[in-house]
């Protein structure tokens, strides 16, 4: 998608930054290096630096900053640690980046209720580190060590979603600063409610376009008595995918079920120095439960895998081996990049009904053959969600065009199968072009929400809804 960059009005910029500087002093910076870092995420999408960056320390800071910006109709872009993948943080209309990474305190742990409230800048690994002694854990794990705020804003998920759900299912309540600088709490801490419109779910996945999330209450879970991981390799992709489909249908509450195609598995073996595996389509599993139930789950899945020609399970029940395995899975993106030194990675994802997964993946792989591109495939296949990482030379326009065209075909293929243009990366500006095809008239409703919440279009303008 062509990025349309419209700088902020110079006079407004000068006025607003002057007021902000006076109020916030050293918390505000216009240093080139810092601005540059805040206009770019981990994607290949063109970066656009904000005019300034405010390191917020509190919800009150965010309120003050937004109130000043709102008065001058000056754009605001929230920022966690910049690990988004669709250009979410690019300052397409200039404006103020509000960096919440220093709002990184765990506010409250309610162990009895299995919930935790954090500031938006708390990172997922930090949260789990914090929880370690409580016997609780937070399961959502996108590839990057993202902030909980960013994960909420993009409706992130990850390898555990097949069992524990995505951010959609795991956020109980949010504190949000609106486009007019008001603080709202979207819900109470109770597990259920039928009291009014679901504002919590509306802000989850809104990518900073409706307000800035400053605090999040999430569900946490008791660490299971038993957590065992296993690896199974398959003669071909269809067999691996069919194993996952049948596992989902059989109702086994598998905690993780990750697909790596042969190319990706080869990259991971090399990058993470995994011994004893072949460059074949591979499933990584994890089973959570009591000792007995985890064993029973694993046996059931092993039987299914065998039917489809899968290898014997290779077990990693020691915590170090298990961590190594999953770190390798989380490093799949970097492993892919290492296949072509100097390249950039263009990660994209789609999600389809599970019954269409084998067809969607095999058509996508077949389509790839003709292009000359290298693009390893990984997938949270239990959810019907898979990713390609195109390894591209960003200075080669032809390569970029080829990748874009292939990605477009993949998206329309997913849509034609009842799927979505993005399962977990979000829209940013990279996927805006597909929303009309995916949502039709529903897009007009989304636009009307944007206009109602942010009539001056100051909240992360140019993302999700084009105005």
């Amino acid at each position: 998608m062509q990025v349309e960059f419209i700088p902020s009005d110079p006079a407004t910029r000068e006025t607003v930054l002057g007021i902000l500087k006076q109020r916030f002093g050293d918390q505000l910076t216009t240093s080139d290096a810092i601005r540059k870092r805040h206009g770019k995420d981990e994607s290949y999408h063109a970066a656009v630096s904000p005019d300034a960056v405010l390191f917020a320390h509190s919800t009150e800071n965010v309120v003050e900053a937004i109130t000043i910006c709102a008065e001058h109709k000056y754009p605001v872009i929230p920022f966690g640690v910049g690990t988004s993948l669709e250009g979410h943080v690019a300052a397409l209309r200039g404006g103020l980046c509000i960096d919440v990474s220093e709002m990184n305190h765990v506010i409250e742990v309610n162990a009895e209720d299995l919930d935790v409230t954090v500031q938006a800048g708390v990172k997922r690994k930090q949260l789990n580190e914090y929880l370690r002694d409580t016997g609780l854990f937070f399961p959502i794990d996108p590839g990057a060590d993202a902030t909980i705020g960013g994960m909420t804003a993009t409706r992130a998920s990850g390898t555990n979603a097949v069992r524990y759900g995505t951010m959609r299912e795991n956020v109980l309540s949010l504190t949000v600063v609106t486009a007019s600088g008001r603080v709202v709490k979207t819900a109470r801490r109770s597990r259920k409610s039928s009291s009014g419109y679901d504002l919590t779910r509306l802000f989850i996945g809104s990518e900073g376009t409706l307000g800035v999330i400053t605090e999040i209450t999430v569900k946490v879970y008791g660490i299971p008595e038993s957590m065992t991981a296993a690896v199974c390799q398959f003669p071909d992709l269809e067999s691996a995918v069919n194993t996952t489909i049948q596992t989902v249908q059989s109702g086994v509450p598998v905690a993780r079920m990750e697909l790596l195609d042969d190319v990706q598995m080869g990259a991971v073996i090399k990058y993470s120095k995994l011994a004893g595996y072949e460059e074949k389509p591979t499933l990584f599993f994890e089973f959570h439960g009591t000792q007995a139930s985890a064993t029973e789950q694993a046996e059931t899945v092993q039987n299914i895998a065998e039917e489809f020609g899968g290898s014997a399970f290779q077990w990693t029940s020691q915590i170090e081996d298990r961590n190594k395995l999953w770190q390798a899975r989380h490093d799949a993106y970097y492993a892919a990049l290492a296949l072509r030194p100097g390249c950039e990675g263009w990660a994209t994802d789609v999600c389809v009904p599970v019954s269409c997964l084998a067809e969607c993946i095999s058509e996508t792989k077949a389509d790839l053959k003709g292009t000359g591109l290298i693009a390893p495939l990984v997938g949270h296949v239990g959810d019907g969600n898979f990713h390609l990482v195109y390894l591209i030379n960003p200075d080669n326009q032809e390569e970029l065009d080829t990748a874009q065209a292939h990605s477009d075909r993949m998206v329309y293929r997913a849509l034609s199968m009842g799927g979505t243009c993005t399962g977990e990366h979000g829209v940013g500006y990279g996927k805006m072009g597909f929303l009309q095809a995916e949502h039709g008239d529903a897009l007009a409703l989304m636009r009307s929400i944007k206009m109602a919440f942010d009539p001056d279009n100051i909240m992360n303008p140019g993302k999700i809804i084009s105005i």
Copy 2:
């Protein structure tokens, strides 16, 4: 809450009903008896009849009707089977009731993807009857045999929610007719998506105030290999509640965990002729899984219950006995009514964080003692959700006032503990008075959504958002 009834403008009414009659013939009725039935739900709340009732046969019917009403700014109230509990269907501004109960076809079963698409008028028991041969089931079970459309509109849940979630977690996509008569599909059929604002969740629980739901795609589940139910009786309420709290915290994936206080248990024993039980605080459990895992779950919970002085589990593993037990639980409302012949039931619910449940229930029961009211208590206690049914003589204003005052205190008690004014019944007009206290400034955001979606306030006016 005082109901404010403003009849529709007579000239507009005559014009609109004339056009509708011409278009729909016998599908439209203005018969007194039918209008009356459509203005009243199962609550004690004052009924208000609509001006006419349209029996819609299709989404297209709904589009045509709403388009005509919208042109004349004439109210529209959607109706399933009228089992709501907060006056949701009362025609507070007059208008057209659109009854979708004849839109009762199961449109599509995707067994491989574990999802089913139904018309809004399909009832929950009908759906499970339909699914019986497929080995699948739909778990959400409010007390009444409600329509899936109505359950979606009120964000219903029930006894299985502790394991399977509520309508919020179990709806994948909706077809909705908006206030301007456009048909929108809120999402694709894939399990996950990060593509734009979550319109699905926004319509779930919107109670007809944002549009009329005509089709729903829901998740379904494989019927577990083993489903066993057990009953455990306790010396006091605290012990029963503490058993549930510890069960939730231990992570046992119990499928159902229902509390009945001594009064309710007495009523159920009498009404449903359950033998072998005492009039004591009681928990009904159900365990789903493989044979081995269901047994293991039950053993764990039995150990917890024993710690709190619970009786030995009385098992009902035969399907007939199990059905009888759960039918008795679902009939708890009618059993309660039978305690005071001629009375009406005023069912109300709140939901709090589980850690506050024992305190909230015991304070509520203590508060009840002074009032002279009879109000049996049942609860989906695994979610922190419980109900009272006040058994009242609706002609006795003093009783009504006493019940209202007690209910108000219960709601504010729940709010003060981080809870919500309704866990699953919804707002209707019965609970609107609590929304400001519960949501504060977030209510203004809800109002802005209502104004954006329905600027002329024709969709079920007078519910949730007062305009």
